[in-house]
């Protein structure tokens, strides 16, 4: 296939999944999907290899979906008929916690299976503990949906529908979002068949092979341009409750084969909190870190991910084992790129960035309106500063490796009796350097209520700030204060009516000597 024909077909495949992702995002009830684009949509060939992914979404989801598609296609090999829809939220097979439900729609052209459209989105509820890291094991975290058929030959699976309906707190929203996933899978399938007809293709096997092999070859070519050897990087950060987590990586470049192996041996062991990360998610953020420095302009697919392998000792914090709780896995997961970037700094200094604040700080509030009615807010989040780049400062109040949007103050104030006292940049919190780290921000709020209320806040890096790079100074650590006093608490806190909360998110690390 020549570079013209392939460009046309390939961009069409990406177009198909991107359209479906946009449709999902607009229709979703789940606030984090709408606001933060916390979803992924991908197209897979008949073997379950991801051929194209939507250009929206977060890395944790996108690359996890790639793994999920392969696993599910294997599990259901030769057992699918037209109209079937596969579902699972198994954390080890998909995106690392129960909230993320993956739906995979086989595409049958007449009776032939030519591929799959898959999506993962973060749902509003999955029963169990709810949002937060406080569950003691995975079973407390909610409903576990093993890989199964959500629809069988276009008929809903009644038992499974019933089980889900009875085990989540917001069944209307969950089913609304599942319906959107199913319909986007079907619509994407129709579009793929229409494309095949237009292009005179009988299936996408040749096309898929071409895309995957070219992508793999290009990634290997980029790796071969690097010096061979093993580079080390480590990152330390504290999590809610005060525990310090350490992630250690050895990044080995084999510039003959064009492979990169990332090994997390030496990293912290399992946490009793729900912040443990499954291998799929660790893999997702590791490949993200490498590819965003190596060849960010190339589309993500099975081929471009294949040359990067990730290993970690079984049961450690980045290769969680059953029954470790996983709910707030982003708290650790979003730090996964940091030690890798430090290792890559030694061979790609112009492409990496210094450590940033890491995980976004999330907040959820439960309380009562003036009329006595109870409310639970949606989860909202705030970023610290991004790390500096070799020749550019780090953006302020912007997070990396995700890039989620924050909910406006006015929207939050309209939804619950919260009053924000301030939300401004935390000047000087970014580390000094030839390029400065981005500033964090200061957010202060209190509740207009005469009742106690519950605060579920997940800050990180309260102990010390992100490291600088190449002689750059570290960013300032974060502060989480209630009535002016520092707090370190991993679980929901009961608050008094007059309590005042202050969040100071960390600044990013600087790059180079100032």
């Amino acid at each position: 296939m020549d570079g013209i024909e392939l460009e046309i077909l390939w961009s069409n495949l990406i177009g198909i999944v991107s359209e479906q992702a946009k449709a999902l995002q607009r229709i979703a009830f789940s606030p984090i999907v709408r606001e933060a684009g916390d979803l992924a949509s991908g197209l897979f060939d008949a073997q379950g290899r991801m051929v194209a992914q939507a250009n929206t979404g977060t890395p944790g989801h996108i690359n996890s979906l790639a793994a999920a598609g392969k696993t599910l296609a294997g599990l259901f090999h030769n057992q699918l008929v037209p109209g079937d829809i596969i579902i699972t939220n198994d954390p080890w097979m998909s995106a690392g916690h129960f909230f993320d439900i993956t739906v995979l729609a086989p595409i049958f052209w007449d009776e032939r299976l030519i591929g799959y459209i898959g999506s993962t989105i973060h749902h509003t509820d999955i029963g169990g503990y709810g949002i937060g890291a406080g569950a003691r094991d995975i079973h407390e975290e909610g409903l576990w949906i093993p890989p199964s058929k959500f629809y069988e030959a276009a008929e809903p699976n009644p038992v499974l529908h019933d089980i889900i309906r009875h085990n989540v707190r917001t069944p209307d929203h969950v089913f609304g979002d599942l319906a959107a996933q199913v319909s986007s899978g079907r619509a994407g399938g129709e579009r793929l068949i229409a494309l095949c007809k237009r292009a005179g293709l009988r299936d996408i096997e040749t096309l898929s092979e071409e895309i995957i092999s070219r992508s793999e070859a290009a990634t290997r070519r980029a790796i071969r341009a690097l010096p061979a050897g093993t580079w080390h990087g480590e990152s330390r950060f504290d999590v809610p409750g005060g525990d310090v987590i350490e992630l250690k990586t050895a990044v080995t470049v084999d510039n003959v084969a064009g492979d990169v192996v990332i090994d997390f041996t030496g990293s912290s062991g399992a946490s009793p909190l729900g912040i443990n990360v499954v291998m799929n998610y660790t893999h997702a953020y590791s490949t993200f870190a490498v590819r965003s420095c190596l060849n960010p302009e190339q589309p993500n697919n099975y081929g471009s991910l294949a040359p990067i392998r990730v290993t970690a000792p079984k049961g450690c914090i980045v290769n969680a084992a059953y029954p470790s709780p996983l709910n707030a896995r982003h708290v650790v997961g979003m730090f996964v790129p940091m030690p890798i970037l430090k290792a890559l700094y030694q061979i790609l200094p112009e492409r990496v960035l210094a450590e940033g604040s890491g995980a976004v700080w999330t907040v959820q509030i439960q309380g009562k309106y003036a009329n006595g009615e109870a409310f639970t807010s949606s989860m909202f989040n705030y970023s610290g500063g991004m790390g500096a780049r070799a020749n550019k400062p780090g953006p302020s109040a912007t997070c990396y490796p995700t890039g989620v949007a924050a909910v406006p103050v006015e929207i939050l104030e309209a939804a619950m009796p919260i009053v924000f006292d301030r939300r401004e940049l935390r000047r000087g919190s970014g580390g000094e350097g030839r390029s400065r780290g981005g500033d964090g921000q200061v957010i202060g709020f209190h509740m207009r209520t005469d009742q106690p209320w519950l605060l579920n806040a997940v800050p990180s890096r309260l102990d010390r700030g992100p490291d600088g790079l190449d002689g750059g100074a570290p960013g300032a650590g974060g502060h989480f204060l209630v009535n002016g006093k520092p707090v370190s608490e991993a679980r929901k806190m009961t608050m008094q009516p007059g309590d005042v909360v202050l969040l100071e998110t960390p600044g990013g690390g600087g790059y180079g000597r100032a």
Binding site: I8, G15, R26, A180, S292, S383, Y400, E424
Partner: protein, 688 residues
């Protein structure tokens, strides 16, 4: 005989259309004069009046104006010192944005610096709560300090955007009143009047843009009025708005943020005028120029209007990389592919077109202005679609050799011939356009198949049939005034203003008295504005609408009511209209979920305007002026080339054929047929 004038100032050309009461049209084009836009305005007007042999005094109809002045001011950022007045503790709202990182994979992305810096931001210790109650009033001593600070900083214009002012503008108005008294020369933009909508960042951004543009736009519009007076044109100018509305210069001068997309909006209105004439409920307007292409859906013969958009996207047209604006605007997509888009081969050996553009300077290699990159226009020339000797009616000679050389370089990396490469560029451009259109339409719940295209812009007619073929379009229509379509659009549109106000409320427990008051204020504002634009109160038609969502959702869906909702206060009727619209867009209705109203909309429109189209003068079918080799299609035979002006109404042309105009070229592929219809449109259809 009375006449009306339309002037559209674009980045490159200033287009002028003169319409007589009997419907005949005279058009002219002149180069835009960037140092003083009004110079080209009046030069063009004089040219067209002379051409038509019309005295200025005879221009008694209307003078409508679309202009790029606001966009230029924002992109160049060479405006006057502008200040932001914010609630204490929230002065960084423009720097914090919405925190979103618009491109996930590129760790090197950047954000444009805030339009108003922190140094020019002043915080006031005041506070309005979400329910509209005032927690802290504006402190007069602080306003004194603000006044002194504004004076000392040499600020010319101020944006005042306080928290929750969309709910209760009291504090904002108090500041404005005090400043107006103390600093009568200061331009003031209030967020509660400019963009009274919830969400502090987009509201502040919109207000800041308005404030920034005011000191540039107000004198400009005043100069325009004076210029018309001096030119003895007995008329006050009307200004085209981004929403497709038209309003008096006075209102426009206070709301320059509403003029940002006035040119493209006018183009969309022309498209909807054709949709009406051609009895097409849906139409996709397709305007492809030098650096970008724009597409806009005409639905039920009207352009779709959106409540928010972005200006000055700094990164590959990515959503999120520009400044948000929340005023009504024609809902269109801008695609980073135009005649100047550069072709290259990436690491994977794929041929890519755009988003880098050679612009108009140096421009495509064939312009001979020093450009060496192979562009879309170079590909069109190599393929024989363009005539090197007849570009812009022969005013600009194209260099075929240079185009070929540029193409050869790309071809080498691709291991293809220059002609194969040009052919690939042509096809990829069509795919890019079709892909963007599909995404835009899918996002709005609309099936792209079977939509007719209306093609204009310098490069649009060259590529339109290829795009239409990919989209399964029923027809591709080439209107006669293609080169001045935006100016034409302003002349077929009645005076109109669109207003929107946020007022969050549960539909079931709506406080109708508050709603009545709010809508009453909007109606008064609209009537006052339309009266200024010369509309009799009785001639003004009001249309009410609202944006709603299911409780718990973030995105609203706009609906339009058949009647004034204040009359029967029928919430179940509102619910029915919303659910029908939701079902149409998303294919599902979670009907047990409560509904929330986010904002109310009002459209006030003046009397309809009747215009006759058509400019075709030839009476007998025109013959091809020559035959030329076209390399896009396999056939060996030379392709007939027609002059558009020589074609007669009713004339049929079978593809392949080329039809040339002064500013563009229509490419009719082999399996297409075209006919010149009674409106002088060339309507092309693909054979079954």
């Amino acid at each position: 005989m009375t006449y009306s004038l339309a002037v559209d100032i674009g980045g490159t050309f200033t287009d002028v259309v003169l319409r007589s009461a009997d419907g005949s049209l005279y058009v002219d084009k002149t180069l835009t004069t960037h140092h003083d836009l009004l110079e080209a305005f009046f030069r063009g007007v004089n040219l067209v009046l002379r051409k038509a042999d019309v005295r200025p005094e005879q221009v008694e109809g209307v003078v409508v104006h679309a202009t790029t002045i606001v966009t230029n001011a924002l992109i160049e950022r060479k405006g006057f010192p502008t200040a932001l007045v914010a609630t204490k503790g929230f002065g960084d709202v423009l720097a914090i944005r919405n925190e979103h990182r618009y491109e996930m994979y590129d760790p090197q992305i950047e954000f444009a610096p805030p339009l108003i810096s922190r140094e020019l931001t002043f915080e006031l210790d005041e506070r309005v709560l979400a329910d509209g109650s005032v927690l802290r009033r504006v402190n007069p001593a602080e306003v004194e300090a603000l006044t002194e600070w504004l004076k000392a900083s040499g600020v010319v214009s101020a944006a005042i955007c306080l928290l929750n002012s969309f709910r209760n503008p009291e504090n904002e108005r108090a500041v404005a009143a005090a400043l107006a008294e103390r600093l009568p020369e200061l331009y003031i933009s209030l967020s509660s009047s400019v963009a009274p909508q919830i969400r502090e960042y987009p509201r502040t951004s919109t207000t800041a843009i308005n404030a920034y543009a005011m000191p540039i736009t107000e004198p400009y519009l005043r100069g325009l009025e004076e210029g018309l007076h001096e030119a003895r044109i007995p008329n006050r100018p009307l200004i085209m708005l981004s929403s497709g509305g038209i309003i008096g210069a006075g209102v426009a001068a206070r709301n320059p943020v509403r003029m940002i997309e006035s040119g493209p909006a006018a183009g969309a209105l022309a498209a909807s005028w054709y949709a009406q004439r051609l009895k097409l409920d849906r139409l996709l307007s397709f305007d492809m120029g030098g650096t970008t292409a724009k597409a806009c859906l005409i639905e039920n013969r009207k352009p779709l209007v959106t409540g928010s958009f972005e200006i000055d996207r700094m990164y590959r047209f990515y959503e999120g990389s520009g400044m948000p604006v929340t005023v009504p605007c024609i809902d269109m997509i801008e695609i980073g592919a135009g005649g100047g888009s550069i072709a290259s081969v990436d690491d994977l050996g794929l041929l890519k077109v755009g988003p880098r553009s050679a612009g108009s300077n140096p421009g495509p290699a064939c312009y001979g202005l020093g450009g060496t990159n192979a562009t879309v226009t170079d590909a069109d020339l190599v393929l024989g679609l363009l005539d090197a000797n007849n570009f812009l009616g022969g005013d600009m000679q194209l260099d075929v050799r240079a185009a070929y050389t540029a193409m050869e370089r790309v071809a080498k990396t691709l291991d293809a011939t220059p002609v194969q490469t040009a052919d690939g560029i042509f096809r990829i451009v069509a795919e890019t356009m079709a892909g963007a259109a599909r995404a835009h339409l899918t996002d709005r719940g609309i099936d792209h198949r079977g939509l007719a295209l209306l093609a204009f812009g310098g490069a649009g007619p060259v590529h339109a049939c290829a795009v239409g073929s990919l989209l399964g379009s029923t027809a591709v229509i080439f209107p006669p005034q293609a080169s001045v379509l935006s100016a034409f659009g302003t002349l077929v549109t009645p005076v109109r203003l669109d207003l929107v106000r946020s007022a969050l409320g549960n539909l079931e427990s709506l406080a109708w008295d508050d709603v009545g008051r709010l809508l009453g204020e909007m109606v008064d504002e609209a009537h006052a504005a339309l009266a200024q634009a010369g509309c009799e109160r009785d001639s003004v038609r009001l249309t009410f609408g609202a944006d709603l969502r299911y409780f718990g959702q973030q995105n609203e869906l706009g609906i339009t009511f058949a009647h004034d909702p204040r009359k029967d206060r029928d919430t179940s009727a509102i619910r029915r209209v919303f659910e029908a619209a939701y079902l149409a867009q998303y294919g599902v209705t979670p009907s047990h979920v409560p509904l929330e109203i986010v904002s109310w909309r009002l459209t006030a429109q003046g009397p309809e305007i009747t215009v006759e189209g058509g400019m075709q003068r030839a009476t007998s079918p025109g013959a091809p002026k020559l035959y030329r080799k076209v390399l896009l299609w396999p056939s060996e035979e030379d392709v007939p080339v027609y002059d558009r002006v020589a074609l007669a109404i009713g004339q049929q042309i079978a593809g392949p054929a080329i039809i040339e105009e002064r500013e563009t070229t229509i490419v009719l592929p082999p399996n297409w047929d075209a006919v010149v219809n009674e409106l002088a449109c060339i309507v092309a259809t693909e054979r079954g």
